[in-house]
Symmetry: D2
């Protein structure tokens, strides 16, 4: 279904990097939910470019909610959020119209759309569109928080530099998540943060870019959420996470590291703590058989280095069918991992709202 | 949508480990496709337990196609494939009804289904159900092969032992895929294969289990398949792959390793070879912007060690809400990675058929 | 999505008239619902052919539930119901393989499936497949009845002979619905019933067939069910009702008669009765703006006369592209309106279960 | 899925009568289709109020396409069309906030949305939203016309006055459809048109309203479009048609009149004409077994009289739970049948585009 995602709650995404407006329509969201525009603005600010480690294209993200909200609350009908593109320099792209930027969607979009695609700034494939995801995701995040479900993402690794891990459970984990909420560069260990920033700047100074790993934790999700087989929590979350540009890997719990463990080491024993069933460890990332077990849901996304670099690259002119050299102009990010973290939070929140609504009904989130 | 997956072509999955029949309904499959029951049987044999490295529960998988096939060809109407469960020993499970097997879905199923779940042998969450996926997947694989699209999966790693990688492209890759087709233990390097088997047997002798990594390659897929955003090729493939029990990670191309590279190293330069646009490397696994670029599609799945082990484990009785010790009976696999590889092939094939049908129409696969 | 229908609860339908088995998979149905096989059998008996006014092909409908039910209750996982075809005479169809039976799907199926369709007895287009709908619908009907929601359908008209209308509301309507439950020929007025039977027999004796109108009432449905725009209660119900073979018209409330009224006559005034908001009349069939208003939901389906008649008809041989004469053999119904009423009940129940589950959550129906 | 409709091509609808903007997102539409904004404007003008027989609220419908169109052609990515609401008088509604207008969605929306709904001018339930459907439908209509598929709707009946019927087939039918294209009041017989107008004006002068029947014909649709069972052409068309506010009945071909015919009269005999298979009559409205047979597709929608009337009505205050009298203010249509005809054309075109794209692939419509 392409640009529509979800079952009980759906999100429809539209827009191009240099078009008039980008936006999202959120349908099935419960009536009566307070809409805090400041909170949406805050979430948008978390993905806004920040100084030397980001692109110089800074958008004000002056979003407008044009439907589905009345007197400060959701009505229960579709919510359309629009964000204008205000700071575009389309001329930067005219000269390289048919030169495939390596690692980008230029060539594949040409194959799919036969040359009708809006190529300016990556068009519909631009990370710009994630601003609309974030705006919609902010609504989902605020609803979940009212239900006691917190979501947060930190940069677990950037340019090869590792952050410390999340606290495993409980108040310590909630404190980590709260700290990220107010962080402009979502790293738990300040020293690691400084090293990462330096590494990004270094790459930028060389006309190059770096990647990283985002780690997300969800606390407060009740046990029993998710479906067997095709709509396992992992299936639906990964579906949404791989929609984020540059994500090339997703793993839950210990993920790929589990492949090297024995069952006796990988299994999470069950315990009773304060009258509640918990697991002693969380190698499985809070999910058994595709369904939440009440422990924190933990997953990681591999984010490849931004493909836009300023070094000369070999490529082809896909209109002429000839080889060519490419030197990029324009404004580009030397890393996007720090901007993508709120996108991970957002799609995670949208998925969880949908799955909660499936199980508990579409009114549930508004109560 | 839980047990239904796909858009133009849908698969519906049903059944329990110890129920009367498991099965799948494949809808939207083009008319006129020859149905080779021997080929389906061969694919089912690839997931059948094999000697010491597998469970002692061996099912004959006497499948029956009860609709949608007439005179040896698909009719274009829904194809229902049934597979009876013939070799069940439900008594093995009666004594441990409310003891949550660590790493399994027992506890989460209880939370979701309030105790109404069929708990015998894992019920609906059992890997047994993948037999139906494989039977349906065999139809998809055979159709793709007629279109020149080959899919194959090898055990890239098991118990920490690595296989050699796939040949990068062309005839060498096709040869690798063909070799896997006739292999009962899908490893490219015979020495690695022997070591893996020994390691599985060793774990089994200790009442333990091992995991591994499956690597899949697709060759012959045209450029331009996949959709932007929510139905990116990575999104839809991962959705299906995470439906396979025990898969806890999915990565495309270099996946998590990309996170540590610079953009200049991660980008795949374009070239013209024999008049065709190709990339010089394939770090992105044949996918740019969520759409195939004509290079081999390559991905890896992390398969956790089988949670069924014979060592005593700490757990809880989730009916009584008390802690307990668990010693499993029954017949279990010390590894499933070798049985799961054809499941990976199958869900990959189902996804590609669906996406080809979306783009080229539902008749396309029959022509 | 062709043979899959529904959102929170989906039904997947498969099978052919002369294939091995027909069946349905019901997914998303709440856990813990008692399954009464006698009730399913009773519902199947309501669509079984009955004497002179029906076909001589009588199937025992020995259904088997092969998944999703355990210890007499639904597990919450997909329920597959199989019904074997036992009484088939495929030879009746061999001689007329390429002669399009007027009013049937032979020619259109050929256009769609390029000759691969199973043509015997109408194949996948046969009314036979509705047996699977009825079996699945029986589960839905029994669940709704436990929630106080009753559904019943009478033959409002057959061969031009009209039954009396339903009682408008309350106990009188419930009594009408209860009476239909135990009726083998669902007509409220016994005299009209006798006339209709005579008219069907008369048509049969002339080798001809008759049609009719089915009227369905639903009582006990709470206000607030249905969605605006595309999933209005009328939209989704009509979608399902037009899936029933031979249905060519659907109207809600006064339906087409409303077109001739003035607004002042068509509007249903609101009143308070026993502290509850009701309408004084029910011209709108219990639905305003696509959403239930708490009054009985009332709709009618036009059922065309069975296209299988024994008179010689003009037709074409669509393989040869020549004109031809057709004289049918085989066993056919001179009317299906009396057999179709339980199919209308069934699809209505499936739709309502889905919409209730969407609003109140998938667990709701099991509580 | 509420406000999203379609499979290969989806439309998402949003907005409220007195909100900032209404709109639609069209996803899956093929790349390369010329977009003629004048044609969209023309279609919007067909639903614009017209003098005495319509409401005094006239909107300029200054639509903006903010995504998915580049250099005058579709890009293949989602097309978002926005239409601002410019002429709103929300004060008209403040005093009657909790008085349920009979025949409207006020009370049911309150039951569904718990009072959070935007009540002004009917909010999300307003016919105003159909402007977005028409704008999106214009794209679909123009694409179909390029494929030789013409769609047109006339007012078959209004206030009890009947128009003449469509020409049955061929050039005469195409001429009828072309004539409707340029008609501001879509009636084939000028005398009937004048009578209908007079009847509407008469009802308006009495503070009352009238309804009618819309009849739509589609010519040029190839045989073989539609799916068996749940996505029969009738099912999907009716689903979309019942989404149009005030539609209370839908029938195909002779529809309800078929119920009174015998099979020998209702069946459409096949013939060969100019080498092509046709039917001698078209009682079945071009559809057999849910699939198009190549003859004109013909259906009718019953449109109830506008529920907004100026006569005093009995109602309830659904907040207080008391009975009340209602005298409407504001600007209302004494009939909407003449404005709704282009909405019927639009949803029909959207459905056909989706079903053609399913069968022939998403690129098909752009070629």
């Amino acid at each position: 279904m392409k640009n529509v995602f979800g079952n009980s709650i759906t999100i429809t995404l539209f827009g191009e990097s240099h078009g008039a407006e980008i936006g999202a329509v959120l349908d099935g969201f419960a009536p009566g939910i307070p809409v805090d525009e400041d909170y949406i603005a805050k979430k948008l600010s978390q993905r806004r470019p920040a100084g030397k480690i980001s692109t110089a294209r800074v958008e004000a993200d002056r979003f407008r909610i044009v439907s589905g909200v009345f007197n400060g609350r959701t009505t229960g009908t579709p919510i359309c959020i629009l964000i204008p593109n205000e700071n575009t320099k389309s001329r930067d792209y005219a000269g390289t119209r048919f030169l495939a930027r390596p690692g980008h969607a230029d060539y594949t979009a040409f194959c799919k759309y036969h040359g009708n695609e809006d190529y300016r700034g990556g068009g519909h494939f631009s990370g710009r569109i994630t601003a609309a995801l974030v705006a919609a995701g902010a609504l989902a995040l605020s609803v979940l928080e009212r239900k006691g479900i917190l979501i947060g993402t930190h940069i677990a690794k950037c340019a090869g530099i590792a952050d410390r891990g999340f606290a495993a459970v409980g108040e310590a984990l909630r404190a980590d998540l709260k700290a990220l909420e107010d962080s402009s560069f979502a790293v738990l260990d300040p020293e690691a943060a400084a090293e990462m920033r330096a590494a990004i700047e270094q790459a930028a100074s060389e006309g190059d870019s770096v990647g990283g790993v985002l780690e997300t934790a969800v606390t407060g999700l009740p046990a029993g959420i998710g479906e067997p087989w095709f709509d396992s929590l992992e299936s639906v979350l990964s579906h949404a996470l791989f929609s984020i540009p540059a994500v090339k890997g997703v793993e839950f719990g210990d993920g790929f590291a589990l492949a090297d463990l024995r069952g006796s080491a990988a299994n999470d024993s069950f315990r009773i703590r304060e009258g509640k069933t918990v697991t002693a460890t969380n190698h499985n990332g809070g999910i058994n058989g595709g369904i939440s077990n009440g422990m924190p849901v933990v997953f990681r996304c591999a984010v490849k280095p931004t493909p836009s670099i300023f070094k000369e690259q070999d490529t082809v002119d896909f209109s002429a069918g000839t080889e060519a050299k490419l030197v990029l102009k324009g404004r580009h990010d030397p890393a996007i991992v720090h901007r993508a973290r709120v996108v991970a939070d957002s799609v995670c929140a949208l998925v969880l709202c949908d799955m909660l609504a499936l199980r508990y009904g579409t009114d549930y989130l508004g109560t």
